[in-house]
């Protein structure tokens, strides 16, 4: 065959009996996604007669395709995917459509007809549950800007460290959004030092250390990044380089590492972190999928789990779990 | 007729001048023997002819035209074939492919003609009378040293050559194979090829060569026609002095039995028993594949013994690994120095002190000064030709490498010394030195077992000769009874009915 069989879009026929869902996650060994997987499985248990299989895709788009195919071969009724890269979206959509399996994206958005969700017509977007990368970045940038203002630093002797894995597009989105939000909130432009990392704390730490060496004249630092790993590593580096906690304005993303600093009760440059609850997202995704399959309830175009900016004063009340 | 000329060849390596302005012709239809002490530059000259080394000065001229030799491929194209001193075997392919390496027969396109190749190699083997010692389908990694050398020799036949150079082709061959090889060389000579032949075995040279060229210290001493010279003159040219009393050994055996091998059976050796007394030299003779090396490997714990026992000084030794044998007081110089004994990229010092480190150490730290002293002592005693003891072993000539192996075990001063082909590739002068050393050791009460394929050596050295064939001991000869004929008879006991020497006709 030529592979071009017509791919009619989802027909919603109700499923009775057992529902099996494949939850395909990028970076499945990261803490956030581990939480998400647990949330999904807990929800499945709660709903009953639902089976969730979690698969780690790493950063591999090709694996995303084969695991989707494998899920279909296993007669899975629904696929929830956190794509390693939104560009693989159309391929996933077409693969799933050919088999008439329901599809929901989680965390990152995908488009049915193009590789870039941000340029996608609204009706071509696959239903999604999660957080908006841009929105998260905006919140982080805003809080950082507020802290900057509150500290009363001057733009001239301040610089921003933006640490992220530069070939992960969803990371880039967050960091870019943070910058414009910061400029809005702070009312001024501050120089950005971009630090390319592999999204792990040790790498963020050593790369930031080096970047700091190249910018010794800076007195105050604002820090953000793609996730808590980056921010925590960078803040650690600054503290090791002799900067006082008061001269660091770090805003994390995830809060699962920031909370460790806060838990120790010491002064830290980690001023706040956006708490995103993977557990809730996982549960919500499964719920949405099951509602659709069981009751034919259309999946909402976008469903956002709540995010909350937390800091040393309120993180415990907000439900941040710290290992 | 072909003529190969080396004109004004010079070659130096860091610290050593290997060849100095050597001009020499190798006429077609004649066998030119190249002789000289270890490190005289014979292999270097041959490697230059082969395009393997580039000379610092001079030229190689074939039939009047100078050759541009940048790689062995160029020499090959010009019709020069070299059988190197160390056989180079490809381990995971068959003997047949090893023989025709680089010139595999092809069918249409680039398809490789496996059946044709096998037929050709079988035919070659039959023609040379090697079919009983070499199977074309065996893998290279499973060959014994002798078989490896035969493969190298067979390679000489694969191309239409004008010049063939053999660098010590017989160093691990025994009489049968040597005969066949000589038949081959005579045939090549009749075809008008120029044959270059390097060997340290004096009798061989006088049997096969037409002319003898002698190198010393990288320079050409002279060229003699075989008919108009004798061994004494050649030796004088080689070493610059007369050598006498080569094989003069006095009986020094005592009654104290040191090594007892009792009904040992391994995978290739059946029910072998022998004893060696303190101060005695026992030679183990036999043809290629007789199982002598196998037996030695078993005695030193490197190959599993299926039944039987080995005792040293009356005490049974539990042989699980060579370490047990070393601990029990045995020393073993294996036959293949490069593969089995030497750390090619380490210094002479490292190589010699390897087995005495446990005596040289204090709190596990090696006493360096003592180590250097000991190494120097043995380098001097064995006359190892090296610029200094930190020189890498791979840069030494073949014979000097062999001396390093011997030095290692002499330094350990074992009760039992097992030497497998100890003079392989060693020049006459050094050979005499080694015989003296063996004699000295025996006198000092060491029990020595020598495995050798060179009959004069066996006869000269041994108090007793044990002959093996096909994994069994076929006889034992006392010094007084031992003659070449007697040994060969025992070595071929089972073969006598069948004729072996078709190739020598």
């Amino acid at each position: 065959s030529s592979g071009k069989e017509s791919t009619s879009t989802n027909t919603s026929k109700k499923v009775s009996g057992k529902i099996s869902i494949a939850y395909l996650q990028k970076q499945g060994d990261q803490q956030y996604f581990i939480d998400e997987a647990q949330g999904a499985q807990a929800k499945a248990k709660q709903l009953g007669d639902v089976d969730v299989k979690v698969v780690n895709l790493g950063n591999d788009t090709s694996k995303a395709v084969s695991e989707t195919q494998a899920a279909i071969a296993q007669k899975t009724t629904g696929v929830i995917i956190v794509p390693p890269d939104p560009a693989v979206g159309p391929q996933i959509v077409q693969t799933v459509a050919a088999a008439k399996v329901a599809l929901l994206s989680s965390d990152d958005q995908i488009c049915k007809t193009g590789t870039d969700p941000s340029k996608c017509p609204k009706d071509q977007l696959v239903p999604r549950v999660g957080f908006s990368g841009t929105q998260m970045g905006t919140q982080v940038g805003q809080r950082a800007g507020e802290e900057f203002k509150k500290a009363g630093w001057k733009a001239a002797d301040t610089a921003i460290i933006a640490a992220w894995k530069q070939d992960v597009t969803v990371c880039t989105d967050r960091v870019v959004a943070a910058q414009s939000a910061f400029e809005q909130a702070a009312g001024t432009k501050v120089r950005v030092v971009k630090v390319g990392t592999d999204n792990t704390p040790p790498d963020a730490q050593s790369k930031t250390s080096a970047a700091v060496s190249g910018n010794r004249s800076v007195k105050h630092w604002v820090v953000w990044g793609c996730n808590d790993e980056n921010v925590s590593g960078a803040v650690n580096a600054l503290q090791n380089a002799g900067y006082k906690a008061a001269d660091i304005d770090g805003v994390g993303l995830g809060a699962y590492l920031a909370c460790k600093d806060w838990g120790s009760g010491k002064q830290t440059g980690m001023k706040a972190a956006l708490f995103i609850n993977g557990y809730d997202v996982g549960g919500l995704a499964v719920q949405t999928m099951v509602d659709y399959l069981r009751g034919g309830k259309a999946m909402p175009q976008e469903a956002f789990a709540p995010t909350k900016m937390v800091d040393p004063t309120n993180w415990r009340q907000s439900g941040v779990k710290c290992t | 007729m072909t003529e190969l000329r080396a004109v004004g060849i010079g070659k130096r390596f860091a610290g050593v001048r290997a060849l100095d302005d050597v001009t020499l012709d190798f006429p077609g239809g004649a066998v030119t023997a190249l002789m000289g002490e270890n490190g005289a530059g014979k292999s270097t000259l041959i490697k230059i002819i082969n395009g393997d080394y580039r000379p610092d000065g001079g030229q190689v001229v074939l039939d009047g035209a100078p050759l541009a030799l940048h790689a062995p491929a160029d020499a090959r194209r010009a019709g020069i074939r070299v059988i190197p001193q160390e056989p180079e075997i490809v381990p995971h392919v068959s003997v047949a492919e090893n023989v025709y390496i680089g010139a595999l027969p092809r069918k249409a396109g680039r398809a490789f003609d496996r059946a044709g190749l096998r037929a050709r190699v079988r035919e070659d083997l039959r023609r040379l009378g090697f079919e009983r010692v070499l199977d074309p389908d065996t893998l290279g990694s499973r060959l014994t040293p002798a078989q490896r050398q035969l493969v190298e020799i067979l390679r000489a036949l694969t191309t239409d050559a004008k010049v063939i150079a053999f660098d010590e082709p017989t160093s691990s061959l025994s009489e049968n194979e040597v005969e066949a090889l000589f038949a081959l060389i005579r045939r090549l000579r009749e075809q008008g090829l120029a044959v270059v032949y390097v060997s340290h075995r004096m009798q061989e040279i006088f049997r096969i060569a037409d002319r003898i060229a002698v190198l010393r210290d990288g320079g050409l001493v002279g060229v003699r026609d075989v008919d108009r010279t004798d061994e004494a003159e050649i030796v004088r040219m080689m070493v610059g002095r007369d050598l006498s009393d080569m094989f003069a050994r006095e009986h020094s055996a005592t009654d104290e039995v040191v090594l007892e091998v009792d009904a040992v059976t391994t995978d290739d050796v059946r029910d072998v028993g022998l004893t060696v007394r303190a101060g005695e030299v026992v030679a183990l003779a036999g043809l290629v594949g007789a199982g002598r090396s196998e037996l030695a490997g078993a005695i030193v714990g490197d190959l599993p013994i299926r039944s039987g026992q080995v005792r040293v000084a009356g005490r049974p030794v539990r042989l699980r690994r060579p370490r047990d044998a070393v601990r029990a007081g045995m020393g073993y110089a294996p036959e293949e120095r490069k593969a089995q004994a030497l750390l090619m990229e380490r210094s002479v010092r490292d190589n010699i002190s390897l087995v005495v480190l446990d005596r040289l150490r204090r709190l596990r730290f090696v006493r360096r000064a003592e180590e250097r002293r000991l190494t120097r002592e043995y380098v001097d005693r064995l006359n190892v030709r090296t610029p200094d003891i930190e020189h890498e072993v791979r840069k030494l000539s073949g014979g000097n490498q062999q001396k390093v192996v011997l030095a290692r075990w002499l330094a350990r001063r074992p009760k039992v010394l097992i030497l497998d082909e100890p003079t392989r590739g060693i020049d006459v002068g050094a050979k005499a030195e080694i015989y003296h050393l063996i004699d000295d050791l025996a006198r000092a009460g060491v029990a020595i077992l020598v495995i050798s394929s060179e009959l004069p050596e066996v006869l000269g050295l041994a108090d007793r000769v044990v002959v093996m064939q096909n994994g069994r001991v076929t006889g034992e000869l006392d010094r007084s009874q031992a003659t070449e004929e007697a040994i060969l008879e025992l070595a071929m006991a089972e073969d006598l009915s069948t004729t072996v020497q078709e190739g020598s006709a």
Binding site: T61, P84, P90, D167, T172 | A71, E88, V93, G102, A339
Partner: protein, 342 residues
């Protein structure tokens, strides 16, 4: 580099030749145990989940293994030479990006996209070979360096983002989802490449010379084989096949991927080649064994997901099963346990 071939391996008796023995030798004892391991793996997963041994799942296994399989096959050739190519994954990444970008910029011409990718693959491979042979850089170091460099190149030309969109094109769709006689096109490509390389290795003098070079390069050199030419050509071949893998990657994911999808492929390809019997010192190995190893690893991977084993256990299970498979394989040869195994 002169290799000393150890003369007397402490090996036990030469196997006796009989008819069943002959068949065994034809498949090769190494491969037999891979087949056995494969059977065991399939049996276990089929028992645990009936959806495992279905034709559709077998196709999925095949398709998932194609990219790694192509690289493993060509890695086998490189390893037989006694070298290694760690940059194959990055080369595939560059080719993937180039194929998509060339496709887009030539007004959606798939052939030009593919040709451009292959051209780039040849250049990358040649560069590896030249650096190694004439720069005298150890193959591992050299290709580790180009692993980083080519990855950087892929990221630079793509800005780190997936490029283009090829799933509007019939040829790419055909590669991604087509079937030939019921077999996925990707798998067909893998089989064709594997067969071609197998034939080259076993039945042409080129292949035999490659074994000779890897087995003993001094012997090969003295025999007049132009080692340098062979090595550079083999690296160029690796570049071509890596480019092919990159093109398949583009078709599978729908766009040119600079890094995603091609990271970690170097270790996978080396693992498969080594598990399939290629000796890392060179001179030994074959396409059949490598393909079996690819299949075994693919079946294992897929099975663990089908059965729903958690990622962390998957790592443990994969490692443990790999070791057990090799131990069983080695035990059968009855080699004595002294020193490093080959």
């Amino acid at each position: 580099m002169t290799r000393t071939t150890t003369s007397r391996e402490p090996v036990d008796a030469e196997p006796k030749e009989g008819v069943p023995r002959r068949i065994l030798t034809a498949i090769g004892p190494q491969n037999i145990s891979l087949v056995a391991a494969l059977i065991v793996v399939v049996a276990i997963f089929t028992f645990l989940n009936s959806g495992y041994l279905t034709w559709s799942n077998v196709q999925v296994i095949g398709e998932a293994a194609t990219v790694a399989g192509l690289l493993a096959v060509v890695q086998t050739v490189v390893i037989i030479c006694g070298a290694m190519d760690i940059s194959v994954g990055s080369q595939a990444g560059v080719a993937s990006v180039i194929s998509a970008m060339a496709f887009m910029s030539t007004g959606h011409d798939p052939f030009l996209g593919i040709a451009a990718a292959i051209g780039v693959g040849i250049v990358a491979g040649l560069l590896n070979g030249l650096v190694i042979v004439y720069g005298r850089v150890n193959p591992v170091i050299a290709t580790l360096a180009t692993l980083a460099a080519y990855k950087g190149v892929a990221q630079l030309i793509s800005g780190g983002r997936a490029q283009g969109f090829v799933l509007g094109d019939d040829l790419f769709i055909f590669i991604a989802r087509g079937r030939i006689a019921g077999l996925p096109v990707q798998v067909c490509i893998l089989l064709v490449v594997a067969l071609a390389i197998h034939l080259m290795l076993k039945y042409t003098d080129v292949g035999r010379n490659i074994y000779a070079i890897g087995g003993n390069d001094t012997a090969a050199r003295l025999a007049g084989i132009n080692i340098n030419k062979y090595l550079i050509a083999v690296y160029a071949l690796a570049g071509i096949i890596a480019a092919l893998a990159g093109i398949i990657l583009t078709a599978r994911t729908g766009s040119g991927q600079p890094t995603s999808g091609s990271e970690g492929l170097e270790l996978q390809s080396i693992t498969a080649a080594a598990l399939g019997g290629a000796a890392l010192k060179g001179g030994k190995g074959g396409v059949a064994g490598t393909l079996l190893a690819v299949l075994l690893l693919g079946a294992l991977n897929n099975g663990l997901n089908v059965v729903g084993v958690n990622t962390f256990w998957q790592n443990v299970a994969q490692g443990a099963l790999l070791v057990i498979a090799v131990i069983i394989q080695q035990r059968r040869t009855g080699e004595r346990a002294v020193g490093l195994p080959t």
